[in-house]
């Protein structure tokens, strides 16, 4: 064999993901994460405090609109904590999805000038959002402890599954995000659909605003939709563990994990196929 370092050819094997190269560029991933953080809050007075304020505001709105006026507050659980739990986990998923979905379009300037493993961008997005999620989770934990000490909330053994839930959300978000990012290099329509779609998904995913029961009783024809939704078991399990509401099933979480793995694999293959020539079509 030749001792050439690498070879540039037209058709790459779509399953050759070059993860080794990605590992060589790990410093770049870390620097991207740092850049996202530093750049986001430069020239703001409150800085990272916005991490806390964002979910608190949303939760307050949900608590007032859906809980107080809409009469959708759950039984036996503090309304604020119930919504906060759903929101921070959902936000992590939707941030991963939304931000990775514009990987090619947002970075076309950079991608058009210099080569590096393109997958490092979505990966850094998932990591920097994980840190954001971590900070928001600390907020959740403080409020949770407050309610726990007042004996208004208890936890469950399924709390141990928490890290797995976060990983599923991250990988599912990234997987679907990179699929969309690859398709938007040619068909920009998807970006508009996505904005609308992600909002719709938030409303139809049981456990974030509406509970599974209320969806099934009001729209029985859409029961199947709630059943195949891979996000639902994750959020349900999260709440089951932390605030002891709803139910838990291994099958549900298993299906979520399975869909996540498949989505991620498809995403990486499509992304890998797209990255070589997307500059010509974007």
């Amino acid at each position: 064999m030749s001792d050439y370092h690498f070879e540039i050819t037209p058709k790459k094997n779509p399953f050759q993901l070059n993860l080794k190269e990605l590992w060589q560029y790990r410093d770049l991933v870390i620097l991207f994460v740092r850049r996202d953080f530093v750049a986001q809050y430069k020239q703001t007075i409150l800085g990272p405090i916005w991490f806390f304020l964002q979910p608190i505001f949303t939760t307050l709105v949900f608590t007032l609109v859906f809980g107080k006026f809409g009469g959708l507050s759950p039984e036996g659980v503090p309304t604020f904590l119930y919504y906060l739990a759903g929101i921070i986990l959902w936000n992590y998923f939707s941030d991963c999805l939304m931000k990775t979905s514009s990987t090619f379009i947002d970075n076309q300037g950079l991608f058009g000038k210099v080569y590096f493993p393109r997958l490092s961008v979505p990966l850094s997005i998932v990591i920097s959002n994980l840190i954001k999620f971590g900070v928001q989770f600390l907020l959740f934990l403080c409020i949770w402890i407050y309610f726990y000490l007042r004996d208004e909330v208890t936890f469950n053994r399924t709390i141990a599954l928490f890290p797995i839930l976060v990983i599923i959300m991250a990988l599912l978000g990234m997987g679907s995000g990179i699929i969309i990012s690859s398709l938007t290099t040619k068909y920009r329509d998807l970006r508009f659909l996505l904005q609308f779609g992600i909002q719709l998904l938030m409303y139809v995913t049981p456990g974030i605003i509406l509970s599974y029961d209320s969806i099934v009783t009001k729209f029985p024809q859409f029961k199947w939709l709630a059943d195949i939704n891979p996000i639902y078991p994750v959020i349900e399990t999260f709440k089951h563990g932390w605030v002891d509401s709803g139910s838990f099933s291994w099958i549900g979480i298993g299906i979520s994990a399975g869909i996540t793995v498949i989505t991620l694999l498809i995403g990486m293959v499509i992304f890998n196929r797209t990255e070589q020539n997307f500059m010509d079509t974007i």
Partner: protein, 418 residues
């Protein structure tokens, strides 16, 4: 072919097809068609109809070969200049080499760590400070954090931005940004460096520094450089060999001086053929030609014929000819009435004006500017896009920079009283 060990880059049968026009309308149907052909084991149905890459010709096909069957090798330590007109495929080639886009066909084998300077300062984030951007930029180019830290001082020194290193880059001037970007790239220590017109920005001092660094990179440390520029001066001083590209193909490879000469020759003939002005109904210059020199004794004599079409009777005519060098300085000027010539009268029809004069100047492409005037009114003024090519006939042993503009044969004698 030389042994693989000495080769930095080997390009084999490289082709790249582009789709013209707005991508979007009809893309889906084309995509489905391509997919359908692939499914049946047939080739891309649009590949057959791809046309030669020539931006001046109007083609029928939506598909164009930006590069077609490119083959060449770059040896280790070689500085290769890539020359060609706009749209000849130079940048596409560099883009494929630096893995920004993929080829349609063929392959490139690269032996060594490669970095490209398609545009310096890529990935600079305006909100981050100079120092933060050095790290980010370095990492984008493939350096590890540790490597960057070990070279940070040198990079800052080389850029000359030490004072502003903790200021956000958005407050930098464009020149400073380029300096910083180039500094990072210069300390990358890649085995192969790809440079595209970066030297256009930055002041003279910095350009000198940059060229020096590139020379040092390739000579001192045995690294390979691929250089694309329209600056023939920089090419000549920097490169060892060259490639001339036309319409997506390689026209010539070889020594850089020969390649530059061929390019300038070719450029002249090429544009000469295309010089067609259609000013219907009014009198105008239609073409010009250089009469081959018959006077071998006086090789500095130039004979130029301008062809002129007159549609009306014009009286009291005089002609003015001005010649500029490639930097725009007027080198020579003359009038048809010089040396006691008189005004002329023209009838409708085709006319030839012949100018013979001595032109002992350095080799360059000279711009002609001809005007025809009747009773102080300009009838036509023409600056042909084809240039007058003068080759150096007189060679002095003097270094290039002392040679000046005039090329006049020297008769030197020596006598002494001792």
């Amino acid at each position: 072919m030389s042994s693989d060990k000495d080769i930095a880059i080997r390009v084999e049968n490289l082709s790249k097809m582009y789709r013209l026009g707005a991508i979007g309308t009809g893309t889906l149907s084309h995509d489905l068609n391509v997919y359908w052909h692939k499914l049946r084991g047939k080739g891309n149905p649009y590949a057959r109809v791809g046309e030669e890459n020539n931006r001046e010709l109007l083609g029928d096909s939506d598909y164009v070969w930006a590069l077609r069957d490119i083959n060449f090798e770059v040896k280790k330590g070689e500085i290769l200049g890539i020359i060609g007109k706009n749209g000849a495929g130079k940048s596409t080639l560099l883009k494929i080499l630096s893995r920004i886009t993929g080829p349609t066909d063929g392959s490139i084998k690269v032996n060594g760590r490669m970095a490209s300077l398609l545009e310096v300062g890529t990935g600079f984030h305006p909100e981050l400070t100079g120092r933060e951007n050095i790290y980010l930029n370095g990492a984008i180019m493939g350096m590890t954090k540790r490597e960057i830290t070990s070279k940070l001082e040198e990079i800052v020194d080389f850029s000359g931005c030490a004072r502003y290193i903790d200021t956000p880059v958005k407050r930098y001037s464009s020149g400073m940004t380029v300096r910083l970007g180039f500094a990072v790239a210069a300390f990358l220590e890649p085995e192969i460096l790809i440079v595209d017109e970066v030297l256009a920005v930055g002041d003279a001092e910095f350009q000198k520094k940059a060229i020096g660094k590139m020379q040092e990179v390739s000579k001192g440390e045995g690294r390979t450089v691929l250089f694309v520029s329209h600056n023939m001066g920089a090419m000549k001083t920097l490169c060892t060999s060259g490639i001339l590209m036309t319409n997506g193909k390689i026209q010539a490879t070889g020594n850089i001086t020969e390649i530059i000469e061929e390019y300038q020759n070719f450029n002249q003939i090429d544009s000469f053929n295309q010089e067609q002005r259609n000013i219907i109904g009014s009198s105008h210059f239609s073409s010009w030609e250089l009469v081959p020199n018959r006077d071998s004794k006086n090789s500095n004599k130039v004979e130029i014929i301008f062809n002129y079409k007159a549609f009306v009777i014009t009286k009291n005519i005089e002609l003015g000819l001005v010649i500029r060098d490639s930097t725009g300085n007027i080198i020579y000027g003359c009038n048809s009435r010089d040396n006691g010539g008189d005004y002329i009268n023209l009838n409708p029809g085709e006319h030839k004006f012949t100018f013979i004069f001595s032109f002992p100047v350095k080799g360059d492409l000279y711009e002609l500017d001809i005007a025809i005037v009747s009773e102080n009114k300009v009838i036509d003024q023409w600056v042909p896009s084809s240039k007058l090519l003068i080759k150096d006939t007189f060679n002095s042993v003097l270094a290039e920079r002392w040679k000046g503009v005039l090329r006049s044969e020297l008769q030197f004698t020596y006598s002494s009283n001792v």
